[in-house]
């Protein structure tokens, strides 16, 4: 391995033979990883490969069971992230760490607030300081006075990144920073990353999108089963995937079956609700209808309203020919609609509960015999989903909160697939899912569609939309502004339509 040559220069931070187990699960085992100053280093691997665990160790959030951490030419031991901060090491963890009931400004400047002579925080200066700090990073769309809970998921990710960058770290770890971001937000992030690199700082990031890795990483470290497989200056995607998975993987996007001409399963006419207006479309059986657009332009609200989780204030909705006015998710579910939301932490999973319970939650009624859950059937159904989606978990009884980020996402997807709905609302379903499993999920979605179901698919990934959907409706400011018809569009078309005349600020 080329590990030997790397030892020559002093690393900005380095883990040597680091291990960490949870119960019987060896999340990271004898892994070595060195980051140089002034480089962008990508850490890639399958879901559950141990990337986040390694980052948590190097960021001081958890302690390793064994191995050594070195900063410069010193051996260090981090008891808490605070110790890492003191060494100029900042981390944006995969699970965001913002405070929902506190303002954006308070979150952003936590511990570094402007203070008066008394040592107390100057509230009057706080918002202005935050606004200036955000503007310095090119962020003008987030109100520093808003509470974090009032912001969108993408905005939270941006705030979290901004908070770490503002502390001018020598080493910045970004654990899947882009999974909640759309194209132009990723560009924004990469501009900042390049700037940090230019200042001689080190940036480590993880991503399941190869494009991103290829476009910005100076070096790439591949992990598999808790250990590093190797570090490479450049590597072909196919080779990297082979090293990550230990096998060859076919094309990421399976071929899309031709658009069906069957009957309509869902028809929306002039729908209106909070955040969207005058939305009309038809979804055919067997059709995968994409929704594109920047975050915050109404797709999220539309999906929530279709699912009955947000009010629908106008228009008409028909599912399977019957009118539907969902007032709560139960109504929508009864009509055969399932929603896979974008924020798995707050909108879907019960983190302390088991993988099995989470998978079968939507089926409880079905599984019950005289009020008692048929445990045998429940188990076999859960087992099947774990196998289909390759959910990496030591057992069905494991708490979902202990799974890796990508595997949590798979559990959420699995729940709704088990419910076998007529209409699936998918919101960024492959967020944080590794390449091999992405491909499986795409196939599964296509199979579901081919089986006569209708799929509405929002994705922040324009490539995904262009490969997966028969048609794409692009939303801007709560309205559908473009329809890109079957076959004849590319990812660039989606992006262009989403951005429209309201170009990226200069």
């Amino acid at each position: 391995m080329d590990g030997e040559t790397e030892q020559s220069g002093v690393a900005a931070i380095e883990g040597r033979g680091v291990s960490r187990a949870f119960g019987g699960v060896h999340a990271v085992e004898n892994a070595s990883f060195a980051v140089r100053a002034g480089e962008v280093h990508a850490l890639v691997g399958e879901n559950g490969a141990g990337k986040s665990t390694l980052i948590r160790i190097l960021g001081g959030l958890i302690r390793p069971d064994g191995g050594e951490i070195r900063v410069g030419d010193e051996t260090v031991s981090f008891a808490t992230p605070r110790d890492a901060h003191a060494r100029g090491i900042r981390t944006v963890f995969q699970e965001l760490t913002l405070f929902p009931a506190m303002s954006v400004a308070e979150n952003l400047l936590l511990g570094h607030e402007p203070r008066g002579p008394s040592g107390l925080i100057r509230r009057s200066a706080l918002d202005g300081a935050a606004e200036a700090a955000l503007a310095g990073l090119g962020i003008t769309h987030i109100d520093p006075r808003a509470l974090v809970e009032e912001t969108s998921l993408a905005e939270r990710q941006v705030i979290e990144i901004a908070r770490a960058v503002l502390r001018a770290p020598r080493v910045l770890f970004l654990d899947e920073p882009t999974s909640a971001l759309v194209e132009h937000e990723v560009e924004w992030l990469f501009a900042i990353v390049r700037r940090l690199r230019g200042e001689g700082r080190a940036v480590v990031f993880t991503s399941h999108r190869w494009r991103e890795v290829a476009s910005i990483a100076d070096r790439i470290t591949i992990m598999r089963n808790g250990t590093e497989v190797g570090t490479f200056p450049t590597i072909e995607e196919s080779e990297a995937v082979r090293l990550m998975t230990g096998r060859r993987v076919g094309a990421l996007y399976p071929p899309l079956a031709p658009a069906p001409t069957g009957d309509t399963v869902l028809a929306a006419e002039h729908l209106e609700g909070p955040g969207f207006r005058d939305v009309s479309f038809r979804l055919g059986r067997g059709e995968i209808l994409g929704f594109g657009g920047l975050t915050g332009h109404g797709h999220r609200e539309l999906f929530l309203s279709l699912f009955g989780a947000a009010p629908l204030s106008g228009g008409a909705l028909r599912v399977g020919g019957k009118p539907l006015h969902p007032r709560r998710p139960r109504d929508a579910m009864a009509a055969g609609i399932a929603l896979i939301p974008e924020d798995r932490k707050t909108e879907g999973l019960l983190l302390p509960m088991s993988v099995r319970d989470n998978l079968t939650l939507a089926l409880i009624d079905l599984l019950c015999r005289a009020g008692v859950i048929a445990r045998g059937r429940e188990r076999s159904m859960a087992q099947r989903m774990v196998a289909t989606l390759q959910i990496k978990t030591p057992s069905l009884a494991q708490a979902v909160g202990n799974l890796s980020g990508g595997n949590q996402q798979k559990v959420l997807l699995g729940r709704w697939l088990l419910a076998e709905p007529q209409v699936l609302l998918l919101s960024d379903v492959t967020r944080g899912v590794d390449v091999a499993t992405k491909s499986e999920i795409y196939e599964l979605i296509m199979r579901l569609a081919a089986g006569g179901r209708g799929v509405l698919l929002y994705s922040s990934d324009a490539l995904e939309l262009s490969h997966l959907c028969h048609r794409v409706l692009v939303m801007r400011e709560g309205r559908i502004v473009r329809e890109l018809a079957a076959g004849g569009f590319t990812a660039e078309d989606v992006v262009a339509a989403a951005v429209g005349e309201t170009q990226l600020a200069a």
């Binding site: 506190m102 936590l110 511990g111 090119g138 003008t140 109100d143 006075r145 808003a146 501009a191």
Partner: protein, 329 residues
């Protein structure tokens, strides 16, 4: 910078202020309502409005609960709860009645000592919760009994005496002096809210894991919260002793639940991380006004707690409904 993010849509100032301090604002509004109600009932009965005497006695009588409510707020904000507040008040109250003598030295010395005892009792709670990682409700339920037991040992029978000078210093029965304390406490709170510890307290209550990830010392923050809670509970015990001019080892018992009620009425979230001690102070006054109103409406004292409970339920439900309406806009 070539890549920047834009698209504004912001709340107006007033709306945002009301929304972000909803609990506090509802509590203050409710206080105005119950005060008006009290004045109305009083007028109907007495043919005049309440005056200096009523104001003074009401404020004086509410002070122990105000302090207990602040103690409870500090702990609840960390997503905990302190059921031992009543026990701490019992113990500190008993200590004062049993030991304090006339003479400035004794009064000052014992006051300082008793406040330190309060901090110590809070520290015990804090250590068990923060280091022992035990449920606050279990820990403080256990220490409640322990503190109550200790109080009985210190002062087996009600009695003892509080020096008259001490009562005069802490409680002025001829003018609503205590309102000055209320204002001072509110100002103290506003200052605390802007201190590093104040921010840490809210952060821990919002999300403990996030707090740790952001370099906040979670254990120390929790210890501080329980200790400060202990100090305020001790202060409540002292004021209670001063008001009663004698001691009783069980007189604080009722304050555990009433402090929780005050906190809830004051819009402090029992899930931690949101709320204001000023709201809790208002909650204490609301509780007291309700008792006064019930007194005037000549409701059978046997039913008093029934009506207090009913009121609490109605207010909490109403608050939740208004909150939801308001948020939706």
């Amino acid at each position: 910078m070539s890549a920047s993010l834009a698209a504004p849509a912001r709340l107006t100032r007033v709306r945002r202020y009301l929304l972000h301090n909803l609990g506090l604002n509802l509590a203050l509004a409710l206080l105005v309502v119950v005060v008006a109600l009290y004045c109305g009932v009083y007028f109907a009965q007495q043919g005049r409005f309440p005056g200096n005497f009523e104001l003074t006695s009401t404020v004086d009588n509410t002070m122990p609960l105000v302090l207990a409510a602040i103690a409870q707020t500090l702990v609840v904000l960390t997503r905990g709860i302190d059921l031992s507040i009543g026990g701490m008040m019992d113990l500190t109250n008993a200590l004062a009645a049993a030991h304090m003598k006339a003479g400035i030295g004794s009064m000052l010395g014992w006051s300082a000592l008793i406040l330190a005892v309060g901090a110590g009792l809070g520290l015990v709670n804090g250590l068990l919760v923060a280091y022992g990682r035990l449920q606050p409700i279990l820990v403080t339920l256990a220490t409640l009994s322990i503190f109550q037991g200790l109080a009985i040992r210190v002062l087996p029978d009600p009695g003892g005496a509080i020096p008259q000078a001490y009562t005069d210093a802490l409680v002025n029965t001829s003018a609503p002096w205590a309102l000055v304390y209320v204002v001072a406490l509110a100002l103290l709170w506003l200052g605390f809210r802007r201190s590093a510890l104040g921010v840490a307290l809210f952060a821990v209550g919002n999300d403990e894991r996030a707090a740790r990830a952001n370099g906040i010392d979670v254990i120390r923050t929790k210890l501080a919260a329980y200790m400060m809670g202990g100090v305020f509970a001790a202060l409540a015990g002292l004021v209670l002793a001063a008001t009663a001019t004698s001691g009783d080892a069980t007189t604080g018992d009722g304050f555990t639940l009433r402090s929780v009620v005050a906190v809830v009425l004051g819009g402090v979230s029992l899930f931690g991380g949101r709320g204001s001690a000023i709201g809790a102070m208002a909650g204490a006054f609301i509780t007291m006004m309700i008792v006064n109103v019930l007194f005037f409406t000549a409701i059978d004292p046997l039913y008093q707690s029934f009506f207090e409970g009913l009121f609490l339920v109605v207010v909490v439900v109403l608050g939740a409904v208004i909150g939801r309406r308001f948020r939706r806009g």
